[in-house]
């Protein structure tokens, strides 16, 4: 086989947020570079506030990098218009709340927008592709239910289906497992990984779940306070002392002897003393 295609290349990209009302220094993502190949799943891990989401926004084009460039299949992201971009890269992210009723099928068909004539209607092809990705994500049997009525696991699969309907080359997942039970987490990431292999997507998975990253990623980036601390093979990134320092807690890292996959176990006693795992993102409404 030939060398796999480079789906995504980030060349020394950085970003500084505009000063937030004079409260301390504005957050800055220091220049960093990495690449994602076709069929590869790259995990981006790090504590809250380490710059994971900023990195994802730069790669998806929501933010323009201050320095450097993002290349998608070798073409600069900045030169793509919005529609062309949506054919290249799809994002699965925490959804905004939906105030208007919409069926699952109509929701998935939104992924075909980028292929539609501005005033156009979905062709039979569009519907066929939507049906196909719904079969893949096992959402076809509730195609006519409202998205608002779905459980967290079902909704996450529908979001993935909509992203796949875009027929992208690069799939970006922002904390896709946040509201899911452990069984659904594993199911979703297993599906994403097998799709990446089969359809040659490049996948970037942003997560604060170290063990899910360790279980499913091919390689990982570790961010801390806006810096890329380490990048590469899982065994290198999941180094005990490094993780202990960054997450400020005592922990053990076990490497599976056959798969080589790391597993992180936080010391319970230490965790309660230091505050332990980063606080959940599910903060109550203000």
């Amino acid at each position: 086989m030939n060398a796999p295609l480079v789906r995504l290349e980030a060349r020394r990209i950085s970003y500084t947020y505009p000063d937030a009302a004079g409260r301390g220094e504005p957050f800055r993502l220091q220049p960093l570079s990495f690449a994602v190949h076709a069929g590869e799943l790259l995990a981006v891990v790090g504590p809250n506030g380490s710059g994971k989401s900023t990195l994802l926004k730069l790669v998806s084009g929501l933010l323009m990098p201050e320095t450097g460039a993002v290349l998608l299949d070798g073409r600069p992201l900045a030169t793509l218009n919005l529609r062309a971009r949506a054919r290249q890269v799809a994002v699965v992210q925490q959804e905004s709340p939906l105030f208007f009723p919409i069926s699952v099928l109509a929701f998935v068909l939104q992924g075909r927008y980028t292929y539609l004539h501005p005033l156009g209607f979905e062709s039979e092809d569009d519907v066929r592709i939507a049906r196909q990705v719904m079969a893949t994500t096992r959402t076809g049997h509730f195609a006519h239910r409202l998205v608002q009525e779905l459980s967290g696991g079902e909704k996450q699969r529908v979001l993935l289906a909509r992203a796949l309907a875009q027929q992208p080359k690069l799939l970006l997942l922002d904390e896709p497992t946040l509201h899911l039970d452990i069984a659904y987490q594993v199911e979703l990431l297993r599906l994403v990984r097998s799709l990446a292999r089969k359809e040659h997507y490049g996948v970037v998975l942003v997560t604060h779940e170290l063990n899910l990253a360790g279980e499913f990623a091919d390689r990982a980036l570790l961010l801390h306070q806006g810096r890329l601390v380490r990048a590469g093979a899982l065994a290198e990134v999941f180094a005990r002392e490094l993780l202990e320092e960054i997450f400020q807690t005592e922990l053990d890292v076990f490497i599976h002897p056959e798969t080589g996959r790391p597993r992180v176990v936080v010391h319970a006693a230490a965790a309660t003393e230091t505050g332990g795992e980063p606080p959940s993102k599910l903060s109550p409404p203000q």
Binding site: V91, P97, F99, F100, P101, L109, G111, L119, Q148, P285
Partner: protein, 344 residues
Amino acid sequence: MEAVLTRKRVLKVCALLLAVLLVLGVVAVSVGAVPIPLGRVLRALVGSTTALSVQDELIVFSIRLPRILLAMLVGAALGVAGAGYQALLRNPLADPYVLGVSGGAALGAIISLALAERVTVATPVAAFLGAALTIAVVYFLGQRGEQLSPYTLLLAGIITASFLSAVITFLMNFLSGRDLRGMAFWLMGDMSNPPPLDLLFWLFLLILGAILAVFMLANNLNLLLAGEPEALQLGVNVRRTKLIVYLAASLATGVAVSVSGAIGYVGLLVPHLVRLLFGSDYRLLVPASALVGAVVLLVADTLARTVIAPTELPVGAVTAVVGAPLFIYLLRRPRFAAAAGSKE
């Protein structure tokens, strides 16, 4: 029912609604303080000069027909403005009247009448500016941080509306020597003094333009409803879409208010009725809201001038009687409450 919308279905529904509108329009011409038989109205409308007596002809062509056309036009404008604002603000309760936009348009129109009464075109332009300015202010007030909070937005709109109606009341008393139409006209809406047919034609073109502008963006609006970052990721030019819909919905509202006053709840009621009947896809929702809006306001105005004939009610009183309870119902529906209450 297949959930995928087709062009054929849009055309079919629109043709059906158009037929209903025409039939109701003819019926509305025949009813009133002086009833005129339907058969004769029909013959007169298709060109017969002998069907009506001189007096009836005056009633049909000079009094009822302009008023009926005005009701249809204003209904279409308000229906589409409501649908547009609902997508723009991602708020199912958005409505030009509730948000104070109609009040802003009315204030603009009153000011232009007070300053330049002779300039006919100044009134709709000033009303448009009033509408655009008001929605901008409400949008600004409704923001909490970077998010547009649904409840804060509604409160901001309702408070703006009540403030504007106070200003209008004050101005009307201040300018009481001048004939600027009555206070009830600007605050409640009234169709009893329709503009002449040639002016009506120009207003028709403006409103048609606004409706087409919103319609052209129907696919974008469908995605905008799912959230702005999502729409952006799916390939929608969010900024341009919002700007055009903002201008078009404000234009439709401004023009409508300049000729009929601030008629409430049509922009709220109509899109929801359409969603209930035909689904919520904007490619059908926009043209159907125009046609259903025309039907609804035609019916409301016909009721306003017939229920206690020969006395007339302001048409806004009729729409408010139906619209206000509907607003409360929608506000209390679990889906809106749940969505608005969760993480913002």
